[in-house]
Symmetry: C2
Subunit: 397 residues, 2 copies
């Protein structure tokens, strides 16, 4: 006889929703499906041959250490290497401003845990990363959004006036997920100005920043407002997701809070994968690998854009990202991407329904499309199929 | 200028306390200190040579898969192997009753997240594992304890009568941390009877069960009450802690809740370390390694007990565990282990102050001692030093 689990669940567990991306994995993994759904890096960017040597070196030279428990803050060499990456981008930090996390989803989760009581307000973009929305929802936060950047102050002022002053602004300034759009320098300065004026923290989620195809990098929010910005980074898009390595960079008194929260959360991140990553970064291979990753993804993005220009029906538009892994397709007003999804699966092509990224239930006519994972010819074929699915849907509307 | 972090912290973050074990790591890592403080497995049990071959096999045969994102539930081969371990112990399960976690601290954390709202009641032993207490505290649970097993019903009844019916009983039936004591069959049946009578869940934390020196294994709580028991396991004591691999075994409708909670928590555990572990288990090396680990730890436990019999002042007592990594020393009534700790550090020996394991602030005269990590001669020397510290303290009382 089963226990009735509903008698036992916490309010948070009652509030948890499955990730629409994870939920559709079983569909999109069917043979023959061309999937633009996941956020998977291309496996050809995984430095398998280099890793073989490094892993053996780790086991031979620091086997006992790498297989033992590690500190909650993470491997010191790795934190040192990560600090260097950001020092080169203008951050005034050292390794003790860095804590290693079990990839960036844990960094988001710890952020929610440290700052959010039920009902606390978070400001984010519309749309924004659904893994972050999932976390804020699990902590029963009050999510408010600004569709346009210039609305930010109005939103913050309104919340403050109603006694619900936001705890932080959550932003993905570089090649946003799902839009692929990058914040301009003016937008960054404006966000920092508002955060300072109203004394808010900024959470700068930055998983893609290193993968820039064109244009000049803009300063990080962390460099514009180091006193109040908490930066979340990861190797999942620039190295390998399978090691589950991410980090938080923040003022040291804030990092101490992450350390405490991580202790009860998972004690420490894999020392073994940290030792491997530290050596990989020390070897200089990381930088080279990112360069070839950038070339590969730029090429794939170009192929996708060319295919869309060629095949997409009139009225369909899309973003043209300067970097990252995703772009957002917008269907004509009144079209529903949920309905399109069924047509698309019939054509053996998949995407993520954009609505999941809109906390306010809008975005019905959008779809997030990933270009990093599929082979070049499948990108062309997949866009053809997607265009056909849109046309079939239109014919049936 | 710093932001005032206290303006931003959640109630949970305000409630988080550093682990006394993690906090004293800097003291006990000083050169020359003999530390019985941590819960570290002995590095000589790490199968470094075997792992070299396995890691190369993983990279050569499933490199792209092992370095990619994995499913939230975990690697299917690994779950299959873990299920086999427990099927052999009488559990009626398959791989879909198993979810992989980022070691057992995450299993505890997810348990708290899924079941505990602030003020919800958890019943545990006095003393009990402090990492669990840390997690229950972070979720602001109401912790109540039963010092003697036969008090369990009285405690549960009292809580139910006051409208605070417990969500679950947290128990470590085999070689408990910190006492090293194992529950008898009668005690297990009694706990299950109470859980059924009052409709409570049981959380069976089982990190040491495989490391039994003497006596017959008792049935797992999971086999006595499969409908309501959530079992937490880990490779941290039987294989390597550095891979951060643990698991939860429970009815499938409960495992689904863990899957949801894990999605927003860290998405998935390292696919790479899971692939390695799956192959290690498939190879049969795991069983052999546990056998030699048991011999090693039994030997070390015996040395520690002999040394205590030889050197400990009168009035000091200790447990004699049938397995696991720890024993509990009890000083004469009125002695304070916190004061002893300073004397011990002067003698260059360290332990964990037992009080940290007593949620109710008792246990002042107890200390937890680990025997798995130190070399044999250091165990003898460390106990000598500890005895001397006790005598010096007594002379100054």
């Amino acid at each position: 006889m089963e226990v009735d689990i509903l008698n036992f669940l916490s309010k948070s567990a009652q509030n948890m929703k499955p990730s629409p991306i994870r939920a559709l994995l079983s569909v999109v993994n069917q043979p023959g499906i061309i999937s633009f759904a996941g956020g998977f890096p291309n496996p050809s960017t995984f430095p398998i041959e280099d890793l073989k040597q490094i892993v053996i070196d780790v086991l031979e030279q620091e086997g006992a250490k790498s297989l033992q428990y590690g500190g909650t803050d993470g491997n010191a060499q790795l934190r040192e290497e990560i600090a260097k990456i950001y020092i080169a981008q203008g951050l005034d930090i050292d390794k003790d401003n860095v804590i290693i996390t079990t990839a960036s989803q844990q960094a988001i989760d710890l952020t929610s845990r440290i700052f959010l009581d039920p009902g606390d307000t978070v400001v984010c973009g519309i749309p924004t990363y659904l893994g972050a929305l999932q976390s804020f929802n699990a902590y029963r936060a009050n999510i408010v959004g600004a569709e346009k950047d210039e609305e930010l102050e109005a939103v913050v002022r309104a919340m403050c006036a109603s006694g619900k002053k936001p705890k932080f602004i959550y932003a993905i300034p570089d090649f946003q997920n799902p839009t692929g759009i990058t914040m301009s320098l003016e937008q960054r300065k404006y966000m920092v100005k508002i955060a300072r004026k109203y004394d808010l923290l900024i959470v700068e989620d930055s998983p893609y920043r290193e993968i820039r195809f064109t244009g000049e990098p803009q300063p990080m929010l962390s460099s514009l407002a180091p006193e109040r910005t908490i930066m979340l980074g990861t190797f999942s898009k620039t190295f390998v997701p399978g090691f589950r390595l991410g980090w938080v960079i923040a003022p040291k008194h804030i990092i101490q809070r992450y350390n405490l929260a991580k202790q009860s959360s998972d004690l420490c991140t894999s020392n073994f994968t940290q030792c491997i990553a530290a050596r990989y970064l020390q070897s200089g291979l990381f930088e080279k690998n990112i360069q070839s990753t950038i070339e590969l993804y730029k090429h794939k993005k170009d192929i996708m854009l060319e295919s869309m220009e060629k095949y997409m029906p009139e009225g369909v538009s899309w973003t043209n990202p300067e970097g990252g892994l995703f772009l957002l397709i917008t269907l004509p007003e009144g079209y529903d991407a949920k309905i399109l999804f069924d047509y698309a699966i019939k054509e053996s092509v998949a995407f993520v329904i954009g609505e999941a990224f809109f906390y306010d239930g809008t975005g019905q006519n959008t779809l997030r499309v990933n270009y990093s994972f599929m082979d070049d010819d499948k990108i062309v074929e997949g866009i053809k199929r997607l265009a056909k699915a849109i046309e079939t849907m239109r014919a049936n509307m």
